[in-house]
Amino acid sequence: MDPSLRIYGNPQPGETPNPGGAATGHRVLIDEELVESVAWLIRLRWIAGIGVILATWFVSKAFRVQVPTQPLLVIGIGILLYNIVFFLIERRYKKTIAPIESYRKLAFVQVGFDWLAMILLIHYSGGIESPAIFFLIFHIIIASIFFPQVTAFGFTILAIVLLALTASLEYFSILPHYAIGGYLDFPLYRNSLYVTGILVFFSCAALITAFLVTSIQKRMRQHEEEIVALTENLQIATSRLQALNDGAQAISSSLELQQVLDRLVKNTSEVMGVRACSIRLLTKTGERLEPVAVFGLSQNYIKKGPIELENNPLAREVLAGRIVNIPDITNTSLLQYPDWALHEGINAMLSAPLTGKNGPMGILRAYSDEQNWFTPDDEIFLAAIAAQGSIAIENALAYQAVEALDATKTNFIRTITHELRSPVSVTRSLLRTITAGYSGEVNEQQKDLIDRAIRRIDFLQKLIDDLLDLAAGKADLKSHEATEPVSLEEILQRVVDRFAAPAKEKGQALDWELQTDQPCMVMASPEGLDRIFNNLISNAVKYTPREGKVTVTLSRSDDDDARIVVEDTGIGIPEEAMEHLFEEFYRAPNAKEFEREGTGLGLTIVKDLVTRFGGRITVHSTPGAGTRFTVSLPLVSEKT
């Protein structure tokens, strides 16, 4: 078990928020210490066991001291053997993540065994005369580290009693005394003064040690508790900051109103560790609040009834811009439906206003099962979330409005398209039926008049088409963004073919040069691309005198753009016309002279579309000599 996961981790969704968070953290930390100590004690005991064996051998061989080697070796081996058992148990505990109670028992049993081994060791190394008596102090220190003060003192007194018992039994020869020959040649175990002295001084030393160690331990635990509490506070602060940050991200990542609202209530209730959270927004008339997003409340409760400002003092208070903390539902006059809340198991509420640029929008509310749950810190936090949420909601609402407007516009354009085009188109068809002679004989003058009308109608048709194109492009951004990889070569081929006949009629050479052997795919709509080159080539043909030349080339530039050049030997564009060239309805003076009819929208549409497809258009012209338009469009990278 890694306690750090629980202390530092965010509260998991679905995990019951813990009211006594700090206490849990503390307990977990102390528990972890016990788990560690058990392992540490086992490691230490290997040394103790081997130490006993080595010391016995060393003392008897090197110093020729006469010790009961056999029992001492048995004790050493015994320590190692029971340590193996403890080691195995501890390993299994670790694997199965045993409860802390098992560890506590294991520690208890271990200390018991150590006590027994120690007393046996003392007994076989001279009883009250044994220098190993000092080692009992280590055991007392260990017990004092492991256990609470009372238990530690219990073990200390046990040690004193066991030592006194051994000394007495040996004194009265009930137990044999093992004298250590060569160490103490004058037996002292029957010297009552010595025995009493050792026992009294040992008892004092043992009790003082236990007292000192447990006191220090207690103080250390206090410090630990403080650190844990501080860590938890930091943790709460961090997760709240995180929640605010998440909220900010929600704002930028989603403009879908419902998504923003749902995220807001879920995040708030998780981070505040409360049972539920809701958002209610004011209706358009501003008389009522409607639930728009809820987390953790039953459908019944949500549908309990309308929250009318007139009957709901709490709502009025909050919408006036105040944060209202109701620590106890049973003791407030602010609520419209207190019984419903109690029935739902809600005992405390915290409400913060959602305020937009144009005044109050609604209420963000957190609900807790427990009375007096919300702290002043919570109030500040909920207010911060509400402020941020307000921005998100306003953005989403604005986006919704824009989308609706966009849809209306698109619809309007479509209607206009049909309504404007149809009559013009039908009129032309009708007139053509006359001039084609399907309605009887038409004399020359009548035919001439109708042909003039048809020419005017053709211009009107073109103007409508261009205008609608421009408007559709501006209003209906989405349909233009629905682009796909399109082959420039194919589109250019098609458009050039279209102008082969008109160019030939004017005696112009229309050249089409493909200057790359790689495919040139760009992200665009085929119609849009067609329109771009249709307009450019049509202009080139139109404004180039008879016997002139129009050249269209497709190549790749160094920086991975497709470059399309439409060059002519036409009338050119005067210097003063250059800056107005792409403006709506603008026509250069020499163009008007050369061709009476023209809408002045063609290049505006071209520029609009090129920009939309992420490209650039440049123009170079020498009046009287010709014009060169260069369109650069980003190529679709081969990897994708």
Binding site: T417, S439, Q461, G528
Partner: protein, 133 residues
Amino acid sequence: MNTKRILLVDDDPDIRLTVRLPLEAAGYQVFEAANFADGQTAVRKVKPDLIVLDVMMDTTTAGFQFALDLHNAGPDSEFKEFKETPIIMLTAIHTTTTMRFGPDSDYLPVQEFLEKPVEPDVLLSKVRKLLGE
């Protein structure tokens, strides 16, 4: 005298007139219907050799639906005998991106498109081509 029967389905009487006059002058028998439902009834009654169909009638896609019903008719359909009847679809010139289409047998079972405004000579040549004349 040409006895081929042509059904004209369009909600605009002026359009019907501009299509009817050249066709009749060329000797075809022309029948008219002003909407989707009348058109379907007329198909069964007239048993036309060719249909001239407006793309937008009651709805923006009514013409497509009309053509689909005819050309994708199953063996049990009341229109199964018209599966091969050629259709010329009248479309507004220079359609916007939202109305993208082209003659594509999988997507749209229409043999020809004719852009409005109607050019009588173009209409006649398309009709003649489809009727194999």
